[in-house]
């Protein structure tokens, strides 16, 4: 199953399980982004529109503020919407609804509201789409208490986490990395849930911990495999959820290895990597044998030209180099 296929599968399961789940967003009726279709069964079953009907699968106008706010209002009054916002850069148009309504209403009203809604968007970075489509905004939303955020980095994680997100009674933002869309792996067809707030170890190791986020995860794994050939044992940990974060899992790994590299495709300042580094420095100081290093995207905007863009994001070479520098091992020639 591909990553996109996994998203579609999770949505289909959720739609089948509960009539209160609806999908709204631009172009969902025609399955333009490939997540509201029946895949191989398309010929027999049609897309989601045919399967669930126009009441529950709705194309929206291009109106992010009301799409997001109405989904919240609907969630407060009995529905469990999944909202497809297409590109993550478009979420900013609805910032007031995310920050001033969705994140705050349950708290401000003393618990009178629950807001069970999922907002999906994809980060189209590394694909020559230019500055307006390449944002990785999850750090901004991490700073808003009241939201939950997931960044699955594999098809199996995407299916289980998205299903949990829909079943969660809190608002969840899922940021999908487009570079991961074509990724394929064996995924259980049966229903399964991955709880929010639980990370996973992709490679076990003892010399250094590499915590990786979203699109940086497969790069971190590739870096670890390369380092292994040099006799360096790197542990790769993917938190999978940014809020609530599996800090316990990160601490366990760092207290074992004593060294940390955090690979995060977000811009450096106030990245998820920045928060993780601060938490480790604060709570695992006694275990650290070396300073923490972050591998992030520089604090500049994303240029269009293929000659200028790709190397800006964390990749297996830069992640491995960061690991070697902490271990004070020379870089390969």
């Amino acid at each position: 199953m591909s990553y996109l296929g996994a998203i579609g599968a999770a949505q289909r399961e959720a739609m089948d399980a509960d009539d209160r789940v609806i999908i709204i967003g631009e172009d969902v009726e025609a399955n333009v982004y490939g997540t509201t279709g029946a895949g191989k069964a398309r010929a027999a079953e049609g897309d989601f529109l045919q399967r669930y009907g126009k009441n529950r699968i709705r194309n929206t106008p291009i109106s992010e503020e009301v799409i997001v706010g109405a989904a919240a209002g609907a969630a407060m009054t009995g529905l469990r919407p999944i909202v497809d916002l297409s590109y993550s850069s478009f979420t900013y148009l609805a910032m007031d609804q995310f920050v001033n309504q969705i994140a705050k209403n349950r708290f401000m009203f003393g618990g009178q509201a629950s807001i069970p809604v999922v907002f999906r968007s994809a980060m189209f970075y590394g694909l020559n789409t230019g500055a307006h489509h390449s944002d990785r905004p999850y750090p901004m939303y991490m700073n808003v208490p009241g939201l939950k955020i997931i960044t699955p980095a594999s098809p199996s994680d995407a299916k289980g986490l998205l299903r949990s997100a829909v079943d969660c009674d809190d608002p969840v933002l899922i940021f999908e990395a487009c570079p991961l869309w074509p990724m394929k792996e064996e995924v259980e067809e049966e229903e399964y849930w991955i709880p929010l707030g639980v990370g996973r170890i992709l490679r076990e190791g003892s010399d250094i911990t590499i915590v990786a986020i979203s699109g940086a995860v497969p790069e971190a794994v590739a870096a670890a495999d390369e380092l292994a050939k040099e006799g360096i044992s790197a542990e790769v940990f993917d938190p999978r959820t940014l809020v609530p974060m599996d800090v316990e899992g990160i601490m366990k790994s760092v207290t074992k290895t004593g060294r940390l590299v955090v690979a995060d495709p977000a811009h450096q300042t106030c990245s998820a990597a920045a928060e993780i580094s601060a938490l480790v420095a604060e709570h695992a100081w006694g275990s650290l044998k070396a300073p923490i290093k972050r591998v992030t995207t520089p604090d500049t905007q994303i240029p269009f030209s293929p000659a200028l863009e790709k190397h800006l994001y964390p990749n297996r070479l830069t992640i491995a180099a960061a690991a070697r520098s902490i271990l004070q091992v020379s870089q390969p020639v």
């Binding site: 009301v66 109405a70 309504q101 009203f109 316990e248």
Partner: protein
């Protein structure tokens, strides 16, 4: 149309208007005495506009509003004590002291939240109408907003979405002619109600928002239309706030014309409705006096409740941040 409304209903209308008046007069005093932290925005003078709309809705229907917040839940039947306790920040407040005047909500009467950000709750009301539509449960939703908010983009996004999906929502503009110190006509191009035509939905301007029945009849027509599945309406009600934008606000300049103010102050909605009820033989003076006194007692009880209730326990700053809370790593 008024002949279809029975005496109990009309007296309840007067009762809710008097409740708003006396509650807000007391809240105003409390601000000036430091008994309410921060400030409040009163609906004094706008009671007919608020109650006329609220009573056109059913008890199951939804409503959202803005910073001029107390009138909305009171108009929809909220009890006064938990509201007043909330203004003072007590644990017994309707929002457990977490919201205050600017963020009142009483889900038990369908009040989904007053927003401190002008216009921000309009999409929420639109969403409540979306859920009614999908669940096919016949409920209607109403969004209160002011003349200032009428220039926010989210109103037009909401009207467009509600129009094209035929959502059962009423967009009600409380046009009290001023957005804080700014006269509405100096920042508004055209007439607010006319903007509905662009979305092919009905737009009605109620010129005299001081008349309860005037407002009620127009909103009821829109509510019935929505409940029949015919979609949203935009209603602009012209009214006036008798007090300052917020209690305790001292602006150096007199931005409202004194003659205009005098004319509006002479149209007190509570006095006008009292005269109507007496003239039509629906109620007599002593019944209405008794109604007024009963509300005075309610407000006094609400005040006592707010003073004697405890403040909330400060030990859990994360209370009700999430429906499914998690431990913060320490």
């Amino acid at each position: 149309m008024s002949s279809q409304l029975d005496k109990d209903f009309l007296l309840e209308a007067q009762r809710r208007m008097v409740r708003i008046r006396l509650f807000d007069e007391r809240a105003s005093k409390m601000v000036k005495r430091g008994q309410i932290p921060g400030t409040v925005h009163t609906s004094i003078g706008q009671e007919a506009q608020v109650v006329g709309a609220c009573m056109a809705l059913g008890d199951q229907d939804y409503m959202t509003g803005n910073h001029r917040s107390h009138g909305h839940p009171i108009g929809k039947g909220s009890p006064l004590s938990p509201l007043m306790a909330e203004l003072v920040g007590k644990a017994t407040g309707v929002c457990k002291g977490r919201g205050g005047s600017l963020h009142l909500a009483d889900f038990s009467v369908g009040s989904l939240g007053e927003s401190g950000i002008v216009g921000s709750s309009i999409p929420i009301a639109t969403g409540a109408a979306l859920s009614s539509k999908v669940l096919n449960n016949g409920k209607v939703s109403l969004a209160f907003f002011g003349d200032g908010a009428a220039n926010q983009g989210n109103l037009y996004e909401s009207m467009n979405l509600a129009g094209v999906w035929k959502l059962p929502v009423i967009f009600l503009c409380e046009n009290n002619l001023y957005a804080l110190s700014t006269p509405a006509h100096t920042v508004t191009s055209g007439v607010i109600a006319s903007r509905a035509a662009g979305f092919d939905i009905p737009g009605i301007r109620v010129e005299d928002g001081q008349d309860f029945l005037n407002v009620f009849n127009v909103v009821k027509t829109a509510v019935d239309r929505a409940r029949r599945g015919e979609g949203p309406s935009l209603i602009e009600v012209v009214t006036y706030r008798f007090n300052e934008h917020s209690e305790g606000l001292r602006l150096g300049v007199d931005y409202r014309d004194q003659d205009e103010k005098a004319q509006w102050l002479a149209k007190d909605p509570i006095v006008l409705f009292r005269e109507y009820l007496i003239k039509e033989g629906i109620a007599n003076a002593s019944e209405l006096d008794a109604l007024y006194t009963a509300v005075e007692v309610e407000v006094e009880e609400a005040f006592e409740f707010s003073q004697s209730s405890p403040f909330p326990d400060a030990s859990d700053p994360y209370l009700n941040l999430y429906t499914e809370p998690f431990e913060v790593y320490a």
